[in-house]
């Protein structure tokens, strides 16, 4: 019987079936960062356990680090304490730490693929929900909590239940000005923010097949926003071309042997899925969220929906969203005034994202009332962007060019919304309070749309700016 990537990778990593009926699943790559690990290391110390496979563990610093002055000690004593713990724990347990001095630091979900650490056929876990990102290379990659981080450190395994599998097919072709972010926001809008609970998503169809690896990373990144703990794209030529020559990818003849194995883990023709969902990619227009979860979105030419048009159980959330955002049902999303523009995050902080934003930044200046930040996803992204002169384009247009980190996606450093500020953001969550102000407001959109909003001073249609 034809098998799926999920079937094959799950089976290859099964250590045993546990008495509970769950799978004891081996984790091939454990990525760690400063925010969700200190308690796990303490639990390990309390239990006097070593790290089971230190060579399969890689750390970095991303959530709390400042994007302006990165001189230690950090100005924020709480951030400094977290960094101190990360250095101390990785040193004591003999784990590699990709810090600023290595030139390879960055958001954990940007550096994994970028360094070739994340590869097809792997199981990848990290104490961060956006670990689903790494599924773009054909891996089974999911977020875990801190006690599970402890389990992976101590045993290299997790007790897991295999999810059902839904293939999400994006048919047709994307129009100009429509990007991977618009595709995943559309998928979440169609299938719902809890539509993926109990499922993994296999993204397929002509639109996904034609996407670059960086676009696929954007799609898989937000699987969790649709309720799916992980999502993946089958490895293909795009995957192999992306990985070739990356520092941690196999080199030379070993690379060719790797391609054989990577090819063998892909879903076979005729494999059965528990469910198949189809999205018409040709019908997607630039998407903007208007509410307080990533499923509450509309196309740029559409108006904000009415709670009364929703099924009864959804109406209170819709009313709460309108009240928090200060919007009226029936109002066009286009023209909503913004205060802040943020391009960055594990969703859209890669070189191709910055290029798209720069293409728009070339055509205008940041509106006077708007504070605009460009935060590269990693030191390597920053370096590559600077080599192309993107930083100068941004600076000349009035954007701030920052250092790599998670930044205003979740506001754990100084990059926060103030009060009720409205943010056009290329990040992944528009939850109340997400960007650092309890009353702050977030509109999610593609990096090109963020740049368009920055230069317009309000939500705009990037297609009109690109001409």
């Amino acid at each position: 019987m034809a098998r799926t990537l999920l079937d094959k990778v799950w089976e290859a990593h099964t250590v045993r079936v546990l008495p509970s009926g769950q799978t004891q699943l081996l984790i091939g790559l454990h990525l760690i960062h400063e925010v969700t690990t200190p308690q796990a290391f303490q639990m390990l110390k309390d239990a006097k356990l070593p790290v089971r496979m230190p060579e399969r563990t890689v750390g970095t610093l991303d959530h709390i680090i400042p994007t302006t002055d990165q001189t230690r000690p950090y100005a924020d004593p709480l951030a400094e304490e977290m960094a101190v713990h990360m250095y101390r724990n990785t040193r004591e347990f003999g784990l590699p730490l990709l810090d600023m001095a290595t030139g390879r630091q960055g958001i954990v979900h940007v550096i994994g693929p970028e360094l070739g650490l994340s590869q097809p056929g792997m199981t990848i876990a990290c104490g961060d929900s956006h670990t689903s990102t790494h599924g773009a290379v054909g891996a089974i990659a999911f977020g875990i909590g801190t006690t599970q981080v402890r389990d992976v450190l101590a045993t290299q395994c997790l007790a897991m239940t295999k999810p059902r599998l839904r293939q999400v097919r994006v048919e047709g072709a994307l129009a100009r000005g429509v990007y991977a972010k618009d595709v995943i926001l559309t998928i979440i809008n169609h299938l719902g923010v809890k539509g993926g609970v109990g499922y993994a998503y296999e993204y397929a169809g002509p639109v996904i097949e034609r996407m670059s690896m960086e676009e696929r990373l954007t799609v898989c990144n937000m699987s969790i926003e649709g309720g799916a703990r992980f999502g993946y794209v089958n490895p293909d030529r795009t995957t192999f071309d992306y990985l070739r020559g990356r520092p941690h990818a196999p080199q030379g003849a070993a690379f060719d042997r790797a391609v054989q194995w990577w090819t063998s883990v892909a879903t076979e023709p005729g494999a059965a899925f528990d469910d198949v969902a189809r999205i018409d990619g040709s019908a997607i227009e630039p998407v903007v969220t208007w509410g307080i979860n990533p499923g509450m979105s509309v196309g740029i030419t559409q108006t904000i929906p009415s709670p009364e048009a929703q099924p009864e159980p959804e109406r209170p959330t819709f009313r709460e969203a309108l009240a928090h955002m200060g919007f009226q049902a029936g109002q066009p999303i286009k023209g909503a005034r913004i205060d802040v523009a943020f391009v960055g995050s594990c969703t859209n902080g890669r070189l191709s994202d910055l290029r798209l934003a720069a293409e728009v930044a070339r055509k205008g200046k940041v509106a006077k009332h708007v504070r605009a930040l460009i935060v590269p996803g990693s030191q390597q992204v920053a370096k590559a962007a600077e080599a192309e002169g993107l930083h100068e384009i941004f600076q000349q247009a009035g954007f701030q060019w920052r250092k790599a980190g998670c930044s205003m996606c979740l506001g754990m450093n100084d990059d926060k919304l103030q009060g009720r500020e409205m943010s056009a953001s290329s990040s992944n969550r528009n939850f109340i309070g997400r960007q650092g102000s309890p009353t702050g407001r977030t509109l999610l959109m593609s990096p090109a749309m963020v740049a368009a909003a920055a230069v317009t001073g309000a939500v705009a249609d990037v297609r009109e700016i690109l001409g």
């Binding site: 509970s20 977290m82 875990i144 045993t155 070993a254 690379f255 790797a258 979860n293």
Partner: protein
């Protein structure tokens, strides 16, 4: 703790209703409170912003202080993987949660802490939330083993997947020891993977 101490066959305590769908982990514990190297202070900050903005928030109400069974809506705990969220709820006093559905990472984190999360129908949840609000001193029993929730003289059906149910009922939810029992099978599984041994 012995295995017997860790068994979560059933949890009984006063209830606290928290209506609304899609309550995310940022709402449960805002990110600025994650800059801590321990979980100790989390209980003080549970729903901090929501409670500040809404003095009537259930977690502020005197009637629900000391409650241990949280009754929520759909997709509770969606979003971030932060274990700080269930840690904050647990340290406030929550021992079991009944809802329509749960964010999967949140659900897994709760299981790892021995907090059962059971799902029930929308109609039963609405009834239970109203019943608890009417009689906040009446205990709610979450029966993990029988997959039901009892309040007063009424019993509603509730569900929890087999794996976590066995872990909770059997007292094996603190899984490190269970996983370590696999011994050398862990390494032998790794050695079968070409990316581990080298292509």
């Amino acid at each position: 703790m012995s295995t017997a101490d860790m068994q979560r066959r059933q949890v009984t305590g006063r209830g606290i209703p928290l209506p609304g769908n899609d309550i995310d982990t940022d709402r449960i514990i805002p990110a600025r409170f994650l800059k801590e190297v321990t979980f100790e202070s989390m209980g003080e900050h549970v729903f901090e912003d929501a409670r500040t903005q809404n003095p009537e928030h259930p977690f502020n109400q005197a009637a629900y202080q000391g409650a241990s069974v949280l009754v929520v809506g759909q997709n509770f705990g969606c979003g971030s993987s932060r274990e700080h969220a269930p840690q904050a709820l647990m340290r406030w006093g929550i021992r079991a949660i009944v809802g329509g559905s749960f964010g999967e990472i949140f659900f897994g984190n709760c299981t790892m802490l021995g907090i059962p999360c059971l799902t029930a129908s929308q109609a039963d949840l609405e009834w239970l939330q109203k019943a608890v609000a009417r009689e906040p001193r009446t205990p709610v029993t979450v029966d993990v083993d029988k997959q039901e929730v009892r309040f007063g003289d009424r019993t509603i059906q509730a569900a929890i997947p087999d794996g976590p149910r066995h872990q909770l009922v059997g007292g094996t939810w603190d899984s490190t020891a269970v996983l370590l029992e696999a011994g050398a099978a862990i390494e032998s599984t790794a050695r079968r993977l070409p990316y581990v041994v080298g292509f």
